[in-house]
Symmetry: C2
Subunit: 303 residues, 2 copies
């Protein structure tokens, strides 16, 4: 795999500071060499990067997730991509968790479409192709002027759940409309019933209210499947409704476990003790490895 | 001043989240209206911005300092400038403290010139003119492809020191070569003796060592003048040397008091109890207001 075929650029992987292990794992799976670099974050929060090898003519896969602090991780990606592209490399950014993906349109007139700005900065910063995992909504992809691909972590999450939980008449619940296709795919792969809750979020305060409907979950195990768990507000609100409806066990499953502040405690206090996420974001519940799914996708890309 | 002369774009001031008071003060001094906006930083660190007014055809002065966390403050500036420039405004960024200004060249081969990346992103993000205060080195200005101006805070700092300290045979000390012109200007305005120390910093670890020479400071008041106090390491090292040389009182003066972590305690423990900075960075020692110096400069700019 390491041999360079004629006309095909040599590829190297840069495991960014935010995704060192994941990047190294992707490189191993693709049998690609790593690009060595130095990184230091100074006490004032500025990042210094240094590259020891020349990359002109190569394709560099920069693996750098943009979980909190989102702007720092994003800026580290931009520092690297700008430099490497200026040197003549083609930069393919692999951003397992893509920050700002929830601000992908003007929900209220006058709102800055932050994902559009991220898209613009990545392209301007030398990124010519983007791969992410379970982007918040497909509409977000349309904001990119470069080729962009969202890898699904759903099959990996389903495999993990099947292997690690003995489920009793499982029901899969989507806590809002936005992620329902993803949750429905999860239910389908798990061969479980699917239920759609409706959620209302105040876009300014972030307050979440889940609306209950007739839920046939009495005595059954329920999996709340969402793309992102941030403060846990949405999952917690869904959990309360589900427990009231008589669910036996409530398990939260997500692609991106941001778990900001005391999210885990908040979930635990509502009886949601099992939380499953992937390693797009490192956390105590990042039990599902997405490196295989990402590597399999990358094999299909001709740079 | 508020009337629009023919051919001159109407100007408004956006006091960014990091420089609300300073921006409002600059607007008052220029008799310019403020651009209203909503800002929210979500628990995961993402910023949401919303503008209520149209700005097409106007010049917007975005006042946003980029002190720590530098990438967050920088990204907020980029969110605003990208949006407003897309709407047809001309964006003049007023960045009182400019992050990454110390990484303005490859000190070691292979280093990313971070300030060059910042410069590129600002321009690409719609900024067409930049004003900052006491940029770390004049070379940094050459990295910008847009007009850029560095306002001096030295006269304001000297006025403050003259008014608030009764100095005995003052000596002004520059703790390293980089900032010596600035410190020399300070000494000249204060009509004080000037001494240059030499400093060695390990660019990777950040460790600072100040080299002592024959210092004639016995019984005299010494002002250490530098552009940035970050962790306080440089000033503290200079302070130790100066106290050993018999200085009576040691005062630290800077343009940008970042004062990261326990910088104030670190300085205090070496007998440097008086620290004076400007409000380019809000802090307990930001006693000198730069809004007048910035406003006076902005009056001279024909957008």
């Amino acid at each position: 795999m390491r041999a360079t075929r004629e006309g095909v650029a040599e590829k190297v992987v840069l495991p960014g500071p935010a995704s060192k292990e994941l990047g190294e794992s992707i490189a191993r799976r693709l049998s690609l060499p790593l690009l060595p670099y130095e990184v230091k974050v100074f006490p004032d929060g500025e990042t210094r990067l240094r590259f020891e090898e020349k990359v002109s003519g190569k394709t560099v896969l920069i693996v750098q997730s943009t979980y909190p602090p989102p702007d720092q991780n994003l800026f580290q990606l931009l520092l690297a991509s700008h430099r490497l592209s200026q040197e003549g490399a083609k930069v393919h950014a692999v951003v397992p968790y893509l920050a700002y993906a929830r601000q992908d349109k003007e929900f209220v007139a006058g709102e800055v479409v932050s994902l559009g700005v991220v898209s613009h900065l990545l392209r301007s910063g030398g990124v010519s192709r983007l791969t992410t995992v379970d982007i918040h909504s497909a509409e977000g992809l349309s904001l990119f002027a470069i080729p962009v691909y969202s890898v699904s972590a759903i099959p990996s999450l389903v495999s993990y759940v099947k292997k690690n939980f003995k489920l009793n008449q499982p029901v899969v619940v989507a806590p809002d409309f936005g992620g329902s296709k993803r949750s429905e795919a999860f239910a389908s792969l798990l061969q479980a019933m699917f239920v759609q809750l409706s959620k209302k979020r105040d876009r300014v305060t972030g307050q979440v209210k889940v609306e209950s409907s007739k839920l046939e979950v009495k005595g059954r195990d329920v999996l709340i499947v969402d793309d992102i768990i941030s403060t846990g507000g949405t999952v917690r609100a869904a959990g309360i409704v589900l427990r009231e409806a008589g669910a036996a066990r409530v398990i939260a499953v997500c692609s991106h476990p941001l778990l900001v502040d005391d999210a885990m405690e908040k979930l635990g206090s509502e009886g949601i003790r099992d939380v499953v996420g992937t390693n797009t974001v490192p956390s105590e519940v990042s039990k599902v490895d997405v490196s295989e799914a990402i590597a399999e996708h990358l094999k299909t890309v001709t740079e």
